[in-house]
């Protein structure tokens, strides 16, 4: 009876390690997807530069991302998150090789949550300003600048998509790390 028990224990832990390894590979792939998404967002927002074809004698009508400090924060936040993801790929590979690591997974969850908060703050702040640029606000007398700067508006609206996609990937990353922790 004891021999049968030992035999069943050995066969029970092998598929568990296999699933954990598969989940770690999924974690690695998701991280790469998130790098692409946030980097694309930062680049799309950072390379905005639209000049209107008319100008007066003194002012040239131009729109760039650093005219609005919120967009500067957006570019910086996305760059920081991209850099963090590249650095965390190393830890992710370590988790593929050594599926039993627990403390490093907790550290990874902590940093993932902090980066999720930074990314979501940057993306939603930029979304608020993009909404304002599209619609304006009559009560505060803020004019909708999108009516003049068309391509600038399209770029800044499109760059939000990568950032929000990165947020969803982060939520999946935290969830898979937590699942792997609870399965050991």
């Amino acid at each position: 009876m004891g021999g049968l028990e030992i035999g069943s224990k050995i066969s029970g832990s092998a598929p568990k390690t296999g699933v954990n390894r598969g989940v770690a590979v999924l974690d690695f792939i998701l991280r790469i997807v998130a790098i692409i998404a946030t980097l694309a967002s930062a680049i799309a927002m950072g390379t905005t530069n639209e000049s209107l074809p008319f100008f007066t004698q003194f002012i040239r009508f131009r729109a760039k991302y650093n005219d609005l400090p919120t967009f500067t924060f957006f570019v910086v936040a996305n760059s920081i998150v991209s850099a963090y993801l590249v650095l965390s790929l190393a830890l992710s590979i370590f988790h593929i090789l050594k599926s039993g690591a627990q403390k490093s997974r907790v550290v990874l969850i902590f940093f993932d949550t902090a980066m999720l908060a930074l990314l979501s703050a940057g993306a939603s702040a930029a979304a608020a300003i993009v909404y304002l640029a599209h619609k304006g606000n009559t009560r505060t007398n803020w004019f909708a600048i999108c009516q003049q700067f068309n391509s600038f508006c399209e770029r800044i609206s499109g760059s939000l998509i990568g950032s929000f996609g990165g947020m969803i990937v982060f939520i999946l990353l935290i969830l898979t790390s937590a699942l792997t922790l609870s399965r050991r």
Binding site: K103, R105, V106, S124, A128, T140, W142, I174, L181
Partner: protein
């Protein structure tokens, strides 16, 4: 014949193993009890943090939801008034922080279940998933409103947007305070996620 030999061998092995297993079992039980005590402490701290985060989120909701300032002067046709629903971002802030407060209050029973049963992984996994989603919602609301509050304080010369805080002082102070409270709630929620992760670890 072979069958009876096999059964006698198995019986003798199991009795030897039973004698050898006893100290291992005792060590495992003591280890489990220490682990569950540690996890119970983590769960109690989790409950305290949850109630604090609910208080902060409630304060943010109420502060933003009750902002309304009417300037003492008025022209012949309209009165200068600022309220939170003049800006759609602030409306989103009030709704989102109300959802966060409601979720935190509803998750207190789950936290109590985790205190009572420290080793169970199911409630903790549910809490970590919902806490992550709530972190996203809270930081999203706080970040968007912070952008609008910054714009209201400083204006923007390139987009020709005036800084309305120069006229509506009280309104600006209240909205800034609400944004700070929302960020406090978001930081507490991040701690909650990390705490759940620490408690999920099998020692």
């Amino acid at each position: 014949m072979e069958k009876t030999e096999a059964t006698t061998i198995e019986i003798s092995e199991s009795s030897r193993e039973r004698k050898g297993k006893a100290p291992l079992l005792a060590a495992a039980v003591a280890h489990d009890r220490a682990a569950s005590g540690y996890k119970r402490g983590v769960a109690i701290f989790d409950l305290i943090l949850r109630i604090s985060a609910a208080t902060a989120a409630l304060a943010a909701t109420i502060t933003m939801g009750t902002t309304e300032q009417t300037l003492p002067f008025f022209t012949q046709f309209f009165q200068f008034q600022a309220s939170y629903d003049d800006l759609p971002t602030f409306t989103f802030f009030v709704i989102a922080m109300a959802i966060v407060t409601g979720y935190l209050v509803l998750s207190v029973p789950f936290s109590i279940v985790c205190i009572v049963r420290p080793v169970a992984a199911g409630p903790r996994l549910l809490l970590i998933l919902c806490d992550t989603l709530t972190v996203t919602l809270a930081t999203s609301a706080a970040g968007a409103s912070a952008a609008i509050v910054y714009l209201a304080h400083n204006g923007n010369s390139d987009a020709n947007w005036l800084a309305i805080c120069q006229q509506f002082n009280d309104f600006c102070q209240r909205t800034s305070g609400a944004v700070v409270a929302a960020f406090v709630a978001a930081v507490l929620l991040i701690f909650l996620v990390v705490l759940s992760a620490v408690a999920l670890k099998r020692r």
